[in-house]
Amino acid sequence: MLLTMIKTFQRPKSMFPRQTHYCPGCGHGIVHRLLAEVIDELGIRDRVVGVAPVGCSVFLYNYIDCDMYEAAHGRAPAVITGFKRVHPDKVAFTYQGDGDLASIGMAEIIHAAARGERITVIFINNAVYGMTGGQMAPTSLLGQKTTTSLLGRLSEVAGYPIKMCELLSTLEGATYIARVSVNIPKNVIGAKRAIRKGFEVQIEGLGFSMIEVLSQCPTGWKVSPVEALRFVEKEMIPIYPLGEFKSPEMNVK
């Protein structure tokens, strides 16, 4: 007698069957998967368009199977604005790191939110410049050691970490603003729920949505993958509290 096994955990259809280039313990792979699952579940693979940033996730398009742009550093919100104004019926997202979004691209993200662009922004905050080798980011924590803050980030020299959710939720144009993390399974589930809600806000035509994802970068932080998960819990979440900062009245499907 043959026992039939049913696969219950499979690769999302909108994800290419390919191993990622990310370091062991990196959070990008998890978030890529959540993004692909949401694209599959909402059935938008044929009408979703993304913009990859400059940073480790520049190769996002090697993993997600949809029409995609690769933007100049920080300019993803402007590029997707150009697209969305031409094709308002399509679903548009950017995927940006903390250097891309909160440093060089600060003007573009603020104004895209202020205009209430119907786009969804996935913002990966790992408090460090990963691709260039672990330099201090605008979101680096006070005291955090990086290759350009060897003794730890000092507020007297480098100011304070930027809290993007708190900043953007002051703007009338921003409709859905949430911060999540992917350090433990419970939070991964919450992250997927928020990403899905961000896309639903856009599809319903309600406005701008941004989901900030606290993500681990063991290589940039120079710790083990397990220590990195703990760093998110113990060091990052107290500074960057999780939750919905702004949310519209809507029926979540």
Partner: protein
């Protein structure tokens, strides 16, 4: 203005904006800067009338990246600015050239460097023709000298952009943009243009499209640059445009582009009245530069005088065209100062008498 025989009295800025609409451009992204403000102002009123989109960006940096997004989405799109604003756009222009996206960029030049001034200048010749942004790329640059030509070259620019999948620049100045002249709009040609099957539209019913400029493998990037270069060589073979005025019997030839060429024509009339056979070569495409127009006559002409509203930029290309076969002199005014026809007459007479260049 729907009747093509109808003449309208417009500024150069307005003529460019209306010609863009007549060419099918429905998207404009820009940021205010003098002396090109009539273009965004005109577009903010005109584009909604034709179901288009005018969007004022937060900076020239954002504007050019919105153009990147819209051009990549497969539509005709433009931006306009003036010198310091174009400097800010250069990163995005490099990306647009690298990604091979068609669009129109208008630069109504003002005096520089730095904040400079708002009076006419031609000091962005280098920036427009010799790179401007980073990397091995070229912009096809069109330099109108009248309001009529501003309209005609705008229509041509959109077709060239689509044909070559390339950003095109119209290089005017505070004069060509702000002076008023009668203009008649031609019918947009737009024939035999390649399909935009590369555009980002959502991958419904086809394999996904990707617009990218990162090629970390040197072998691949070199191939990419060679491919771009073949396109630029095609422009050099097919798109050089030049006006030759009173050149056949000329002993002295003035070289000037854009607004300055008009002043030079008045000077030539006066000089010929005094028995000095002067002529004019006016490059209309600054890249590809019409080197042949100069090399073909270099043996027959005693001297060339290049007149520009800058400290000497196009003169370098004229010298490349002449290649040492004749003497090349330069006369320039800068900072918003404009050479008068008397000054040019005086300068031609001086070098005609054997004065040094």
């Amino acid at each position: 203005m729907s009747d093509m025989r109808e003449r309208a009295l417009l500024t150069g800025n307005e003529a460019i904006a209306e010609a863009a609409v007549k060419s099918g451009c429905r998207y404009f992204f820009g940021y205010p800067i003098t002396p090109q403000n009539r273009i965004p102002e005109y577009m903010s009123k005109r584009l909604p009338e034709v179901d288009g989109v005018y969007l004022q960006a937060e900076s020239e940096i954002a504007a050019i990246n919105m153009v990147f997004g819209a051009a990549g989405a497969g539509v005709r799109v433009m931006t306009s600015s003036s010198s310091p604003g174009i400097s800010l756009m250069q990163e995005g222009i490099s990306f647009i050239a690298a990604a091979e996206l068609p669009c129109l960029i208008v630069n109504m030049m003002r005096g520089g460097p730095g904040l400079g001034g708002i009076q006419p200048s031609q000091s962005d010749y280098f920036q427009a023709t010799k790179g401007g942004g980073h990397g091995d790329y070229r912009l096809l640059v069109l330099a109108p000298s009248t309001v009529q030509e501003s309209a005609d070259l705008t229509m041509l620019a959109f077709d060239l952009a689509d044909r070559y999948r390339s950003p095109i620049m119209i290089l005017g100045d505070a004069y060509t943009g702000q002076m008023m002249e009668p203009v008649q709009f031609k019918e947009s040609e737009s024939v035999n243009l390649p399909p935009k099957d590369w555009a980002i539209t959502g991958a419904e019913g086809r394999a996904r499209n990707l617009i990218r400029t990162l090629f970390p493998e040197p072998e691949e990037l070199e191939q990419r640059n060679l491919q771009l270069n073949r396109k630029y060589e095609g422009m050099i073979s097919n798109e050089r445009r030049v006006e030759m005025y009173e050149v056949d019997d000329a002993e002295i030839i003035i070289a000037a582009f854009g607004f300055v060429a008009r002043i030079a024509k008045t000077s030539i009339e006066i000089l010929r009245g005094k028995g000095i056979k002067a002529g004019l070569i006016r490059p209309i495409t600054l890249f590809p530069f019409p080197y042949g127009a100069f090399s073909n006559v270099a043996d027959k002409v005693d001297k060339f005088l290049v007149v520009e509203m800058n400290m000497g930029q196009m003169v370098e290309d004229v010298k490349l065209g002449i290649n040492g076969k004749a003497e090349v002199c330069f006369y320039g005014r800068t900072g918003g100062m404009v050479p008068s026809y008397e000054e040019i007459v005086r300068e031609v007479k001086r070098i005609h008498r054997g004065g040094c260049c």
